[in-house]
């Protein structure tokens, strides 16, 4: 039943993202075909876009056809133009999100090329967030004298605009000390965006880990272990770590979308060719086709990660509680 609810939720998300993109496209003044093909496209190009995006069909049909274009099999019917498809699984699965008037690549290809960059930065930043958050929480929980210092330190980070953190790090580590590249795609150019995103996003992990630790410290089992003379390490392994792990895991599932939001700023700031840069460029280009593609891909990605995490949690923590 839970799996069904999760699947339903995922489907709803994708539907909402598609409907939102479609509705926005329709709500805008002017011809959606012109918006997708660019104002200087020829009549033929515009009609081709109208046909390939199923514009002018009833809303539900347009959404259905968009979804079908976004993910379909190699044998899908003639209504889909496979030339702009990006293929997975040895060509068995296709994705066609149309074409952007501002990017030479089909939207699906652009997204497929950008996604690994964002995944790499996002995963490294997430790890850093968790490490900083848990580290801070452990320090605050164990050493009482540091609690106020750590708590307010994280509060300050919470209130600093992420891009200021990025600008300061860039100035210090790239401009002043010349340790890292300013931005771009050089070998270690990913370090600055990871640091920025990692530091900026660590606050909420700190909060959830700290709260979990405080609760764990009041748990009868831990008090009992302490009374029995169990070592600090044992108490930590038996009670604290599972509690913190569960809290961080729970929060991490909710936080995937926030990491994606953060990527929008950091990738733009550090010129990383990921989804964030793609979205940022599409925003400044007013590129409806690319924005729609990025929105759909982000939503699908977040849904997949969340549900994968759900499945892991259900398996892992059920076992742990036993």
């Amino acid at each position: 039943m839970k799996a069904f609810a999760a699947l339903l939720s995922g489907v709803v998300t994708i539907l909402v993202a598609t409907a939102l993109g479609t509705a926005l496209l329709r709500a805008l003044p002017g011809d959606p075909a012109e918006l997708l093909a660019g104002p200087r496209a020829s009549i033929e190009q515009r009609e081709a876009v109208r046909s390939s995006h199923h514009l002018g069909e009833p809303l539900h049909l347009e959404i259905a056809m968009r979804l079908r274009g976004a993910l379909h099999g190699a044998g899908a019917g003639p209504s889909i133009d496979h030339r702009d498809c990006y293929t997975f699984l040895s060509g068995k699965i296709h994705s066609n999100l149309g074409r952007s008037p501002f990017d030479p690549r089909p939207v699906s290809t652009a997204i497929a090329q950008a996604l690994p960059v964002t995944l790499r930065i996002g995963a490294a930043a997430w790890l850093l967030q968790v490490l900083l958050g848990i580290g801070g929480a452990l320090l605050a929980a164990r050493v009482h004298k540091t609690r106020r210092f750590v708590a307010y330190g994280f509060t300050l980070i919470l209130c600093v605009p992420g891009l200021l953190i990025g600008a300061l790090l860039q100035h210090a580590l790239a401009v002043r000390l010349n340790l890292l590249p300013l931005d771009g795609t050089e070998a270690n150019a990913w370090v600055l965006p990871v640091l920025t995103l990692g530091v900026a996003g660590s606050v909420l992990y700190f909060r959830s880990a700290f709260t979990a630790l405080q609760r764990a410290h009041r748990q009868p089992s831990r008090v009992q272990l302490a009374a029995m003379g169990a070592s600090l390490g044992l108490r930590f392994r038996r009670v604290d770590l599972p509690a913190v792990g569960r809290a961080v895991f729970e929060f991490g599932l909710v936080d995937v979308a926030a990491v994606a939001s953060g990527a929008l700023i950091t990738e733009t700031l550090f010129r990383q060719p990921g989804m964030g840069s793609l979205a940022s460029t599409a925003i400044s280009n007013r590129d409806a086709a690319m924005l729609f593609g990025v929105l759909l891909a982000s939503a699908a990605f977040v849904v997949c990660i969340t549900h994968l995490g759900d499945a892991i949690r259900n398996t892992m923590f059920r076992g742990a509680s036993r």
């Binding site: 009549i43 300050l156 209130c159 605009p161 200021l164 977040v302």
Partner: protein, 791 residues
């Protein structure tokens, strides 16, 4: 309680200071007196401007105060909107779960989960771009509504606990109705959590406004919001850090204040004691460390790989020469596709063609080609050149060069599809192509010097020509890699084997990249860096400033009122004071009102100055027709955007309201071509030294529509057309052509579809390892640069 009182008092003082400051300051007026001493260098804080000024010499403190009002509005009202909607949904969901059948709970939760899965900033940016709010209230509504799903789950969770508790059960037993229970008793029970959540939401709203502004999806120029200020400060981060630190620090301070207020009111606070204020000391030190780097310019370290690395602000839009029209595309294409000729004051200079021999009546020309190969290995033959020209001509109005070859024999039949080839192009042998015209065409040499006719191997496939460099790869938005084409028809002297064009490099980082060795040569740098280089010239770097033969200004769309009236266009061109608009902006932009730059056509008589009487007359004309609102399109984060803001200020003096729409360069080109904008920035770089180039390529072709014409003003004038046709009959170069062109220029200036404001120069800087060619023009011939022997 003491902390709450203190924080509330702090907030009150802040509001009072804000209210006082708002009434006393103007965030939009520029103090031009500060621009006088040295162009490009920013005056620091002073008594009149305690936080200094921005790139347009507007008081940073005044903008900070007005931005604070906007941020407070977004933070508080936006969070309130989100909280009202989110609390209502959360409590209904909880009520449905506890007291009802739970379908509303499931429905709300599924909907919320679906929306939360989409990144907030992305949704907010999309909404911001599509709705394009014009005021802080609009932005507040956008951010508030998009965030409405965020409080639903926490509120539901707290409400579930409260609904199952003794207080709610007791009031229900006493007969409280469900609406009263939810709106009164439950609200009271949840107050501490709601306050805490509100403060968190408000903090995030303030930060989101800054992020949206940074992405260019918030309020447009010249709005004074903190996000916008951060966005505009990007070009100055390393030279005038206060322009960044002021708005970013203010965002931080406001977020902290709101957060502390919330924490103080919440029982769930992590640390109820006094905050360790000394923590702010390292933060302040960190900010102070953000001082400008020393103004020492170092030569870049030599790189052993031999690749010439240059930068370009925008990506290549079009790799097909007949239709490419933006500067980056023309420049990169000039490396891939060589032209037949160059033009010098003495006549044609051979490139791919060795000679062009006309008959006496200029109706028959023999074009002799060099020997060599295209990039795909095929021989550079007359037959393939003919096919290339025919491919270009098949585009018709999409390429401006087609209009210049109207008299080519058999062209009309070819365009109609009656003939598979142009009868006027005759292949004599492998290396000679004869051009036959129905009417005298003395300017064919100049037409053949146009980059639009550069021979191509195939149409719209991978870039393939006969230029000195061959296309290797391209990562969109990152870089384009080229390698030397060893069997090119035209031998070039340079020893540059590979060329990497790094695209999307922001002006403020160009010089920094040069000194780090990431670029071999810097150009298109920020105005403050250009000033720095000009002052430090002659040290370890070699720098050269050269005329681009480029003019810039604005176009006035003659289709749109009030610019359909010639008098209004003329009055506007008189009213815009070039000296004042350009004052202190960029040392490389020189005020000028001429359509043909001095670099191309030096004139003995300077531009006539405008008298006070003429200016008064212009003011009266413009004031009389002041339109409700006009949209002015510009490429974002550019000199043009700064100029647009000054034009906006100047036109506000006659009661005109101008809305600036700052777009990416690609979007700007598309919007200008679509004819939707009333006015916008415009520029022209003469890529052939033909004084008629702008007139024949940008003003004579029919209105853009679906063609690639750059007649963004939708200018049409039979008199101009006749005059242009007369000029085109003169041989180039000749004094008769110069006289005719100058008269034509006066006609265009009088009609004023374009208002030229400045002539652009370029500054290039490199280390001593690079040997430059003796003269530079646009497009820069990178093939003639050389690495020195000692590398």
């Amino acid at each position: 309680m003491r902390r709450v009182r203190l924080a509330a008092l702090g907030a009150l003082v802040l509001l009072l200071a804000l209210a006082t400051g708002l009434t006393l300051t103007d965030p939009l007026s520029s103090d031009f007196s500060l621009a006088a001493p040295s162009v490009g260098e920013f005056p620091g804080p002073s008594f009149r401007h305690p936080l200094g000024v921005d790139a347009l010499y507007r008081d940073t403190f005044a903008r900070l105060l007005h931005g604070g009002a906007a941020s407070l509005l977004v933070g508080t009202v936006g969070a309130l909107i989100a909280m009202l909607a989110g609390t209502a949904l959360g409590t209904v969901a909880a009520w449905s779960h506890v007291r009802g059948k739970g379908w509303a709970d499931r429905l709300i939760l599924r909907g919320v989960d679906a929306l939360i899965a989409m990144p907030y900033l992305l949704i907010a940016s999309i909404a911001g771009v599509l709705i394009a709010p014009k005021t802080p209230w609009g932005l507040t509504l956008v951010l508030g509504l998009v965030a409405a799903t965020m409080p639903v789950r926490p509120v539901r969770s707290d409400a579930l606990a409260a609904l199952g508790g003794p207080v709610i059960r007791a009031v229900e037993c006493l007969g409280s109705s469900p609406p009263r229970t939810l709106s009164l008793h439950l609200r009271r029970l949840l107050r501490p959590e709601l306050v805490s959540l509100f403060s968190l939401m408000a903090t995030q709203m303030v930060l989101a406004e800054a992020a949206l502004g940074f992405l260019g999806a918030g309020l447009g120029p010249p709005a004074a919001t903190w996000g916008r200020m951060i966005h505009e400060s990007r070009a100055l981060w390393h030279t005038a850090p206060l322009t960044l630190l002021a708005p970013a620090g203010a965002t931080f301070a406001l977020s902290l204040l709101i957060h502390q207020l919330g924490e103080a009111s919440s029982v769930a606070s992590l640390s109820l004691k006094r905050p360790p204020l000394w923590l702010l000391v390292p933060a302040a030190l960190l900010a102070l460390g953000f001082v400008p780097p020393s103004h020492e310019l170092n030569a870049p370290p030599p790189r052993a790989d031999g690749i010439l690395r240059i930068s370009a602000r925008s990506d290549v839009r079009d790799f097909y020469p007949p239709t490419a029209h933006d500067a980056t595309s023309i420049e990169v294409n000039s490396l891939l596709y060589d032209r037949f000729f160059d033009v010098s004051p003495d006549g044609l200079v051979s490139r791919l063609a060795l000679s062009l021999t006309p008959n006496e009546t200029f109706t028959r020309f023999a074009l002799t080609l060099r020997e060599g190969r295209f990039h795909d290995g095929r021989e550079f033959s007359a037959a393939l050149v003919k096919a290339s020209v025919e491919r270009a001509l098949r585009l018709g109005a999409q390429t401006p060069v087609a209009a210049s070859l109207r008299g080519l024999h058999g062209l009309q039949a070819f365009e109609r599809g009656d003939s598979p080839e142009v009868a006027g192009l005759v292949v004599d042998n492998d290396h000679q192509l004869t051009w036959l015209f129905d009417a005298p065409t003395p300017r064919l040499g100049i037409v053949l010097a146009s980059p639009q006719l550069s021979p191509t191997c195939t149409a719209n496939a991978a870039p393939c020509g006969a230029g000195p460099f061959r296309f290797v790869s391209r990562a969109p938005g990152e870089a384009i890699d080229l390698v030397r084409h060893t069997s090119a028809p035209r031998p070039t002297p340079g020893n540059i084997e590979q060329l990497r064009i790094v695209v999307g490099v922001r002006p403020e980082s160009v010089l920094e990249r040069l000194t780090r060795g990431e670029l071999s040569l810097a150009r298109g740098m920020a105005s403050s860096d250009a000033a720095l280089v000009l002052a430090a010239r002659g040290k370890s770097l070699q720098a050269q400033r050269f005329g681009l033969a480029s003019v810039g200004g604005l176009f006035l769309n003659t289709k749109h009122p009030p610019f359909d009236q010639r008098d209004v266009r003329r009055a506007l061109s008189v009213w815009l004071d070039r000296e004042r608009i350009l004052h202190g902006l960029n040392p490389l932009a020189i005020p000028s009102g001429a359509l043909i730059p001095d670099a191309l056509l030096p004139r003995s008589i300077p531009n006539p100055s405008v008298s006070d009487a003429e200016r008064d007359q212009a003011k009266a004309t413009l004031s009389a027709v002041a339109p409700a609102s006009l949209t002015y399109i510009v490429p974002a984060d550019s000199l043009e955007e700064q100029i647009a803001q000054r034009v906006q200020q100047r036109l506000a003096e006659v009661g005109w309201t101008i809305t600036i729409d700052a777009l990416s360069f690609a979007a700007y080109l598309d919007r200008a071509g679509s004819g939707a904008a009333s006015m916008g920035s415009v520029g022209w770089t003469y890529d052939v030294p033909d004084p008629l180039d702008l007139m024949s390529s940008a003003l004579a072709p029919p209105a853009p529509g679906q063609t690639r014409s750059q007649n963004y003003a939708y200018y049409r004038s039979p008199s101009f057309d006749q005059h242009l046709a007369r000029c085109q009959r003169f041989e180039a170069p000749s004094s008769a052509l110069v006289d005719c062109t100058l008269a034509l220029e006066q006609e265009v200036l009088s009609d004023a579809p374009w208002v030229v404001l400045y002539e652009r120069t370029e500054l290039m800087v490199s280390g001593p390892d690079l040997i430059w060619p003796p003269s530079l023009t646009f497009p820069v011939d990178w093939a003639s640069f050389q690495w020195s022997e000692r590398r």
